[in-house]
Symmetry: C2
Subunit: 347 residues, 2 copies
């Protein structure tokens, strides 16, 4: 065997991190000419029923906190030690919450091996004065390495149960894209590469704004035609936003799993839709509903809504994005949720 | 007022015909500089509770058989007389079932006024030896007039109740398209024109094949990721089929209401989805389920599935359309419905 095999490290052991760790653990063994068998999974220290979660995981190969009942291959080893996770890795898989990404990158920078590449499964968007900044760009800027992204119609619990799913890999470097397809693809998790990092990544972030509109629609009891119109107008606003700030974004990307498929599943399931439905029905704030309904998990869509609105407002473009603007005004400015549809009407 | 006002006739008074007659009746009065106020609605003779439906309609302005509880404007006049309907019309709105279209066109041909144009809301597809023939082309071939099409996420009962909906108008002649937008558009029925008759029309026909796959998925209890993948693969097969036989079909058309929005609503509501779910759960044939579940209405998706499969099979292209082929084989060839997903998997 060659000494040049790729060594994979996974940064983040929540529900999605645990689900993809299962796939990665199987695929590195299947392709042992390409990958080292041992994969480190970096989790933060936490306890479950009084025992350290990392110890439970390494003893039982299960993550009862985030994917109860799912057994992972024993070549996935959990650790909280960032240096240990990163120092020998040639492939980094980022699958941690948006708010921890930047800090984690700064902390790992000193341990990084030369030639390492990364793939980000993190959903969200940053801002600077000129507009949106991709999270993959944040990683590139801090670590100076090639970064692909993976997004798609990926409810984590379904992937953990080997239910048929698809995903999209957005890439810049084609060799790395092929490597990531080998690492992630299975007949039950079908991965398609596309040379479009910003398109794929913005789909993953922006769909959560549309999911809030879908939740409002469900809370108002709107019928199918109306919800279909909201999803469609939402997809077009996602595309317009992405192509305005990143003119290289491909229209074809929106036909991939990260586009229409993820939008569909996020607008029919998913916590952003669910909390927005409750918002429309109860009048409680998103902060209250997040605390009541999500058992410690955080909403991604509300933060993204605020970031996107700031960008649009700065550029006097809110009128060109009536759906995203209405979601913002309903969620944060006291606009009645009953005005969702009238915001979209044209005489 | 000018003598050149357009005179509208509607051919077909079923559930969708009655719903659009309500919109048309309002819009011709609103735009009385463009349209004659009286609109004839051609229905076939039938009875309801022992009375002629046409007489009930003209007395009460309701169609209790197909849109109970909905009152239409009194300028919509029902008749069964095709000559009377057609002879003064300058705009024909075709909204009758596919199977009656050709015969009705032949019967009306002799009464047609010069310069008449048409818009077809009929869903389906014909076949000849070279491949699919659009229903709008059938009208053009028989009547020799310009034909636009209107398709979209349009559950008829929701439109009749003025619930927010969108629709797409596919056109060849831009002046006629503008006229049809004026005739159909309201703030609650938002119409977008696009210069793409085959794209818009094939979306309306082919989505019913994908709706059968969605129903199988629901009947099997597949989770969200899987159904999202089925819808996405379905939309790509619709696009591939349309652009193979009509290379001028625009990718943008699939982002219009006739594309993703109609696919969404047809795959979450709609009779094709419903019967296919029952097929997967009960093992009964579509013929039996149609008789049991649809109260005299007909399934469009099964016929379209057979037509599409014939085309693909003739051209040795079934492998390039794994989802549509699987729907055919499950519906008509005894392939187990449990093999729906494995038909889509790629190693």
């Amino acid at each position: 065997m060659s000494q040049q095999r790729e060594k994979v490290a996974i940064i983040g052991g929540g529900s999605f991190g645990t689900a993809v760790a299962k796939i990665i653990g199987q695929n590195v063994l299947l392709h042992d000419d390409i990958f080292e068998p041992e994969v480190l999974l970096r989790m933060t220290d936490s306890t479950y029923n009084g025992e350290k979660l990392i110890e439970i995981f390494n003893r039982t190969h299960e993550n009862p906190k985030y994917q109860p009942g799912i057994t992972l291959p024993s070549n996935i080893i959990a650790t909280s030690d960032l240096e240990e996770t990163v120092k020998d890795a040639t492939i980094l898989v980022f699958v941690l919450p948006h708010q921890f990404l930047e800090d984690t990158c700064y902390k790992m920078k000193q341990f990084l091996k030369e030639g390492t590449k990364a793939i980000s499964l993190v959903k969200g968007v940053n801002l600077n004065q000129e507009g949106p900044v991709l999270l993959s760009t944040t990683i590139v800027d801090i670590l100076g390495i090639d970064v692909s992204v993976l997004m798609g119609a990926n409810i984590a619990s379904e992937i953990a149960k080997d239910q048929f799913s698809e995903a999209t890999i957005g890439y810049t470097n084609e060799d790395n894209a092929n490597l990531f397809v080998t690492l992630f693809h299975t007949p039950k998790f079908m991965c398609t590469p596309i040379n479009d990092v910003p398109g794929v990544e913005l789909c993953g972030a922006l769909k959560n704004v549309i999911a809030i509109a879908a939740g409002f629609s469900d809370g108002l009891g709107l019928p199918g035609n109306s919800k279909a119109a909201i999803l469609r107008i939402g997809l077009l606003e996602m595309k317009k936003f992405a192509q305005h700030f990143f003119p290289e974004v491909k229209t074809d990307t929106f036909f991939e799993s990260c586009g229409i498929a993820d939008l569909y599943v996020t607008c029919t399931e998913g916590r952003n839709r669910k909390c927005a439905e409750a918002f429309a029905k109860t009048g409680k704030s998103f902060k209250e509903l997040e605390a009541e309904m999500l058992n410690g998990q955080l909403l991604q869509g509300t933060g993204t809504t605020e970031e996107v609105y700031k960008v649009l407002d700065n550029m006097n473009m809110t009128k060109e994005f009536p759906l995203m603007s209405a979601v913002h005004d309903i969620a944060f400015e006291g606009k009645p949720v009953t005005e969702l549809v009238s915001s979209l009407e044209v005489n």
